[in-house]
């Protein structure tokens, strides 16, 4: 006969179900993971506006096992945070997990993948972005001239409008042709 702590109101849960690709149970599971990051900071009740006011700093989010080994973890946090700094509220975190979930459609994932790979945040994936991405992906194992070659080939192949950098349309064009995109751009929570 204990008093069960109600984490979210019904209205909140319905809102979240409508705006993300999660079911009720998955939302609660995501909340559990979020709370595990910093149990003192994140309260058990989120019925008022704690869901979008309480902010967990980016260093702690990066320690999550799902993100810890990801080469783009800092950029992912920046993309999904409300102010671009990387500190996430619960709603940002839920959004992130929803985009990475299995039910998210291909074009949503492509959009967010584009923003993640756009490391300098100028709405284009330029040459420096690609070089940095290659370096992060292989953890520095490739020689610089190999990286240059790779980046040159990729730009050659993907840059359709010829301006030396990839716009979203170019990127989507590449990603749509890759059948593995859906299965690799996927974090299971």
């Amino acid at each position: 006969m204990g008093n069960k702590v109600v984490t979210f109101t019904e209205q909140q849960l319905e809102d979240y179900q409508d705006c993300t690709f999660f079911t009720r149970k998955e939302i609660l599971r995501v909340f559990k993971r979020f709370r595990e990051v910093n149990p003192e900071l994140v309260p058990k009740r989120m019925t008022e506006n704690q869901a979008h006011t309480i902010v967990v700093p980016v260093e702690e989010i990066e320690k999550l096992p799902e993100l810890k080994e990801n080469p783009f973890k800092r950029r992912i946090c920046e993309v999904f945070s409300h102010d671009g700094s990387g500190n996430l509220t619960f709603e940002d975190f839920l959004d992130m997990m929803s985009v990475f979930s299995e039910a998210a459609p291909r074009d949503i994932k492509a959009w967010y993948a584009f923003r993640i790979y756009d490391l300098d945040d100028d709405m284009f994936i330029g040459r420096e972005d690609l070089l940095e991405a290659t370096r992060l992906l292989t953890k520095g194992e490739l020689h610089p001239h190999e990286r240059d070659e790779i980046v040159a080939s990729v730009l050659d192949e993907a840059d359709v409008d010829g301006d030396g950098r990839l716009s979203f349309m170019d990127f989507e064009h590449v990603v749509v042709r890759a059948p593995d995109f859906l299965s690799t751009f996927h974090i299971r929570i």
Binding site: D18, C19, T20, F21, T23, R24, K25, H52, P65, K68, E69, N70, P71, F80, H82, T89, E91, D92, D95, F100, P105, D107, I108, W111, Y112, D121, D122, M123, T134, L137, T138, K139, E141, L142, E146, E149, I150, S153, V154, D156, E157, D161, F168, M169, F171, V174, V175, V176, R177, A178, P179, D180, F181, L182, S183, T184, F185, H186, I187, R188
Partner: protein, 776 residues
């Protein structure tokens, strides 16, 4: 302004961004008024998302003002309001709104704002029109269907069997291995459902009927494995089942009906689910990535490089060791791709290619011959009558050994041939599958042809034996080998760590499942045995994967391989249904089993359920439909329609390619026009392509720079200006504001030059003839 354009690459990113966006705001204003934005979309709003300028605008207005978020939400809501279908007040529009909300690439807080505003707006506008009864019913049906599907999904999800374990495995070994475990879990779930179905409808009534009459004499170990002896008269086998009515008191439960219909439902249900899942997987992984396999040649390597750069990192990897390995594997593959690109591959000459093709054909024939040889040998073994005791066990042992060893052998053989890596893999899969299915069909045919009484029992026993004898191989032997290799790797005896061989393990799964299907009709409890086996298999494989194996060097194309495996599973079921249907259903089984009273197993349907002898009309209709002519005609029609659909899809694919190319060109056009609009709005009135493209003495250049001067606002050109009134126009204003890039560094040539015949106004030549001094 000009310096900004040149120095843009050197500026820091933030300034670059602001610059782009400042211009974009002007662009966006132009873009918003385009007619294409006003059209109501009939489909979902997904196509809107591709417009990055739109999103750029939204990012641009992200300032520190407290109501910036509110303003953004207002912008979004205003856009959505333009689509009338979204704003109605019925359940269908609600679904559309929900979909549109989910597809918005905005943060969750923003989406909640938008949702609140949208519902407020909708309720403001809703005109409560009375909906017709028909529409209301349609809404209700589609709504309840969606709701039930959602709640079913919730329910299935809440079961969550082994969820954490699979996640753990994925973190360590990658999502490809995870997909194997997902397949295992899915098959286990389906088998569990099947066994519950069969037990409750078939086994339990039978057990109640027999009521434990004769106590079981001790079952020896050999009997337990081979299903003979004391086990023959148990619900395990077909022969045991009563053929008439069972049931206590007034309740009548016809065993034959129950058996037939339960089995029929089980098979058809499984078949339907499998077909659906295979088709869905095929669509997602083969059709949607347009041009899935990728072409060969230089463009192919580059496309693969790009795909590897963007899709190469598996985001599910969670352990440091796996991440290091994955990074190394990725670097290795990048190097390979670069080598492939740099290597000048000469196209093989005609003779070499012919040689390769013929080698492939020869080896394929040899392999097929081998497979047939194995089957023939099996047939002989079965028919030979020497050393009768425990003969069955030996035969089943041989079959199991062959099924276990053949994939490795075939893998080796395919290396001798000249296939690409992925084609080689699919070829091996196909051959192994052929071997397995051939064996099973052979067994069925043999026992059907033999004149033994109660041959159905034999088939059931075969199935049971195969499953039992496979247990030591797959549950004990193989994991032991993997463990030992893992230990040897840890103590540096062997160089390479054992990899989790996804192909081999998946083939084991498919083999077990095929055996189950062949045997299920004749041995209902086989389902239970296979279910338990899969349960144990999961735990054993999990341990072996986590402790002994490591990620492989080659990245496994999980998505497409999964589709192929699912397809093989579906094909097995199809072959089973075909074999069973043609061999068993038509023939009588007078000696044992629940269909003793009927002329054939189908007789249950014909005489029992439909009562055909009494309904002559129905019987004649059914006879007509099942005549060979009618069936052949139906098959032909099916083939023709499949061909038509394929041809149409091929045409649509090439159309899509054309349209995509057109889209790209249109995007470039639009970009060009928009930047022209920007420039015009910034006071630069000159239409100017890059001046370097035109030589100094080309007529176009002259035309542009001398006839159409900047101050002309070039587009409304009338000839009357040219001759005299031109001199009075205030030119100084335009000249001072003309940006530098358009200032010609080239000399203005004074020669008249022959104007092109296309520029036929004579007025221009008079102007061109003026001297420089007069022009200034």
């Amino acid at each position: 302004m000009e310096d900004d354009m040149e120095g843009i690459e050197l500026k820091p990113a933030s300034m670059r961004r602001t610059f782009t966006l400042r211009n974009n705001v002007a662009r966006q204003a132009a873009v918003n008024f385009m007619p294409s934005r006003k059209v109501a979309h009939t489909g979902t709003l997904r196509s809107r998302r591709a417009n990055s300028e739109h999103n750029a605008l939204l990012e641009a207005s992200m300032s520190d003002a407290p109501d910036a978020a509110d303003k953004q939400a207002d912008i979004i809501v205003r856009e959505m309001e333009q689509h009338h279908q979204l704003m109605e007040d019925n359940p269908l529009s609600e679904e559309l709104r929900r979909e549109a909300l989910r597809d918005l690439p905005q943060g969750l807080t923003m989406k909640r704002n938008v949702r609140a505003k949208l519902s407020a707006s909708v309720s403001l506008r809703s005109k409560q029109r009375p909906i017709s009864v028909f529409k209301r019913m349609k809404y209700r049906i589609s709504f309840t269907w969606k709701k039930s599907r959602d709640s079913f999904r919730d329910f299935v999800f809440s079961i969550e069997l082994w969820y954490e374990s699979i996640r753990n495995i994925e973190g360590h070994l990658g999502s490809a291995v995870g997909s194997y475990f997902h397949l295992l879990r899915w098959l286990f779930g389906l088998n569990l459902l099947l066994s519950i179905l069969l037990i409750s409808f078939v086994v339990v009534p039978q057990a109640l009927h027999t009521g434990g009459t004769n106590g079981t004499s001790g079952i020896s170990f050999l009997d337990f494995i081979s299903g003979t002896g004391a086990l023959e008269d148990t619900p395990l086998l077909y022969g045991h089942y009563h053929d008439g009515d069972t049931g206590a008191g007034p309740l009548r439960y016809d065993m034959a009906f129950a058996y037939f219909f339960t089995m029929g439902c089980a098979y058809l249900l499984f078949f339907g689910v499998l077909c659906y899942r295979t088709a869905d997987s095929y669509r997602r992984h083969f059709i949607e990535p347009a041009g899935g396999g990728g072409g060969g040649g230089g463009g192919g390597v580059r496309a693969r490089l790009a795909a590897k750069l963007f899709c190469g990192w598996d985001f599910g990897v969670a352990s440091p060791r796996a991440a290091a390995l994955a990074a190394r594997a990725l670097a290795h593959e990048f190097r390979e791709l670069l080598n492939e690109q740099n290597r000048k591959t000469e196209a093989a000459s005609f003779w070499v290619r012919l040689g390769r093709r013929s080698t492939n054909v020869v080896i394929t024939t040899i392999v097929l011959g081998l497979i047939f040889g194995v089957q023939y040998g099996l047939w002989l073994l079965l028919s030979v009558d020497t050393f009768t005791d425990h003969r069955e066990i030996y035969i089943s042992l041989i079959i199991t050994a062959v099924a276990a060893v053949c994939p490795i052998l075939l893998n080796f053989i395919v290396k001798l041939e000249f296939y690409e890596a992925r084609t080689a893999f699919y070829v091996t899969l196909a051959r192994t599958w052929l071997l397995d299915i051939g064996t099973l069909i052979l067994l069925l045919v043999f026992w059907t042809r033999s004149d033994m009484p109660c041959w159905e029992n034999r088939v059931g026993q075969e199935g049971y034996r195969l499953v039992m004898l496979d247990i030591p191989v797959s549950l004990l032997l193989l994991p032991a080998i993997e463990f030992i290799r893992g230990l040897m790797f840890n103590f540096n005896v062997v160089k390479t760590a054992p990899e989790f061989n996804i192909a081999y393990n998946s083939l084991t799964l498919i083999y077990n499942q095929s055996v189950l299907w062949f045997g299920m009709l004749f041995s209902p409890l086989l389902v239970v045995a296979v279910t338990i086996k899969f349960l144990l298999l999961f735990y054993v494989k999990r341990e072996s994967a986590l402790r002994a194996c490591q990620t492989g060097k080659k990245v496994w194309r999980a998505a497409q391989a999964q589709t192929v495996l699912l397809m093989l599973v579906t094909l097995s079921l199809f072959a089973t249904l075909f074999a069973l249907g043609s061999l068993f259903l038509r023939s009588p089984s007078p000696h044992c089993g629940p269909f003793r009273r009927y002329a054939s197993a189908l007789g249950v349907l014909a005489e029992g359920a439909l009562r055909l002898p009494e309904r002559a009309g129905l019987r004649r209709a059914l006879l007509f439909v099942s005549r060979p002519g009618a069936v052949a005609f139906a098959l032909l029609a099916l083939c023709v329609s499949v061909y038509i659909v394929r041809a149409r899809s091929g045409a649509q694919q090439s159309m899509a390619r054309l349209l995509r190319r057109m889209l790209q060109l249109q995007a470039k056009d639009k970009d060009f026009l928009l930047s022209a609009i920007e420039k015009v709005s910034n006071g630069e009135w000159l239409y100017s392509p890059k001046s370097e493209e035109y030589g100094a003495d080309s007529h176009t250049w002259k035309y542009l720079h001398e006839v159409r001067k900047p101050s002309n606002a070039g587009y409304h050109f009338d000839v009357s200006r040219l001759s005299h009134s031109f001199l009075e126009r205030p030119r100084s204003y335009a000249k001072e504001n003309r940006p530098n890039s358009y200032q010609t560094d080239k000399q203005k040539s004074n020669e008249d030059g022959d104007t092109d015949s296309s520029f036929s106004w004579q007025g221009s030549s008079s102007y061109l003839n003026q001297t420089d001094a007069e022009k200034r």
